[in-house]
């Protein structure tokens, strides 16, 4: 299992979702990705995208006006 960080600061939805989607496509099941975002819209959109695509949001935190979502990459179907 590897951990990665993705900088989505200043991007507005749906760009952060697209970045997460494209990054996850390169990762292995079980890997973890932390997306660092500033658009509060990601609090809805990234979890929704993860639910549809069978990835898991492990943690959501807010630090200094930034929203950090930790995602575990799901199994390929």
């Amino acid at each position: 299992m590897s951990r990665y960080v993705l900088d989505c600061r200043r991007l507005l939805c749906p760009m952060p979702v697209i970045r997460v989607q494209d990054r996850i496509a390169e990762l292995e099941p079980g890997d973890e990705l932390e997306a660092v975002c500033t658009d509060p819209g990601v609090l809805q959109d990234i979890p929704a995208w993860c639910r549809i695509n069978a990835h898991e949001v492990l943690e959501v935190r807010e630090e200094n006006d930034e929203y950090i979502l930790r995602i575990r990459v799901g199994e390929e179907e």
Binding site: P14, Q44, A48, I52
Partner: protein, 345 residues
């Protein structure tokens, strides 16, 4: 063998129904959603503070979740510029190149379909629903120019159109497709009830800002000022924010209307020179273009006019260049009658 279809998902009701109709026939469906930069989804809600309390969902994601399908969101911002600059079939009522846009999206979906081993494409189009892109005579144009031919199925109006390959091959049963036509929304709403869909989005007009008159005026102005139809992502994003005021061909001001916008514009201060009132609470304004000292004073007077000090004899502002160097200006706010109507875009 289970056939696979990729559906163009806009987030509206029609594509949602189209997917459900073919899903019911045992077809595996996945969705594709294109981000052009002009999409109505997201953005403004993220920017304006007053809208923040009510969380705004992304309708394409919501639709996919309701249907239980995967959704692939594709960034087409760069390639889409060509569609906006040079639409072969022209613009609609505003700067919306709907027919070219449809052709482009179906073409991109076709490429995706081929790369992922899918069999055909579905859309929620209905004959006669939209004045330009969904007419009986333009629908075949989409098929021809996109190269998809008869691998494009429109389940909501298929019975009004010649049978497509998925129908002829028996992948889907034509009898179980629909014959909707025209601008009425009643059949869609009845079908939504039958499927138990509630709370779906009903977009008025179109799915993107290019159908918005106000927005098109600002985009046209941008093109005119630059002397060509160029735009970057930041430009088209900024057209959604603040008041845009152009007192001269050389520059325009983007003035925040409330705190959320002010905060958003602040993120651009290293790309654009800015003005901010300091003696009174007031907006942040970005300066797009170039100006001399006299024009800077006029700009400062305009910005002061939108501050709490609009009736004060003098307002102090900070001018900041893109490198972060700043200086103070003291000006008299511009009286309302001197702010020309044609300056406000």
């Amino acid at each position: 063998m289970q056939r696979k279809a990729v559906a163009l998902i806009s987030g509206g009701l029609d594509s949602m129904l189209a997917v459900k109709v073919v899903q019911e026939q045992g077809i595996h469906v996945e969705g594709i959603n294109f981000f052009t930069g002009f999409c109505v989804e997201g953005h403004t809600h993220a920017i304006r503070k007053k809208d923040r309390k009510k969380p705004k969902r992304n309708n394409a994601l919501w639709v996919a979740e309701q249907l239980g399908i995967k959704l692939h969101i594709i960034d087409i911002v760069e390639e889409y510029k060509e569609v906006v600059f040079n639409p072969k079939y022209g613009y609609g009522a505003n700067l919306n190149p709907c027919l070219d846009c449809k052709i482009f999206m179906v073409k991109k979906a076709r490429e995706w379909m081929e790369a992922h081993g899918f069999d055909f494409i579905i859309t929620g189009e209905v004959v006669g629903q939209r004045p330009k892109s969904q007419r009986r005579d333009t629908m075949p144009v989409v098929q021809r120019d996109s190269g998809i031919g008869d691998l494009l199925l429109r389940p909501l109006c298929a019975k009004n159109l010649p049978p497509t390959l998925p129908e002829r091959e028996g992948w889907v049963d034509r009898e179980k497709l629909y014959d909707f036509s025209g601008r009425t929304r009643k059949p869609q709403m009845a079908l939504a009830r039958r499927f138990g869909f509630e709370d779906y989005a009903q977009p008025a007009g179109g799915c993107c800002f290019l159908t918005d008159e106000q927005y098109s005026v600002k985009l046209q102005d941008l093109w005119q000022a630059r002397g060509d139809k160029q735009y970057e992502m930041d430009d088209i994003m900024l057209l959604k924010v603040g008041r845009h005021i152009r007192p001269s061909p050389e520059f325009k001001l983007i003035v925040s209307r409330e705190e959320g916008e002010g905060k958003f514009l602040q993120g651009y201060r290293n790309q654009y020179p800015s003005l901010k009132t300091v003696s009174h609470a007031g907006p942040l304004a970005l300066i797009d273009g170039t100006m001399d000292e006299e024009q800077l004073e006029l700009a400062a007077r305009i910005v002061a006019r939108y501050s709490q000090g609009k009736n004060a004899p003098e307002v102090e502002l900070e001018y900041r260049d893109t490198g972060g160097a700043s200086r103070t200006l003291k000006v008299a706010p511009l009286p309302p009658h001197e702010l020309k109507k044609e300056w406000v875009l």
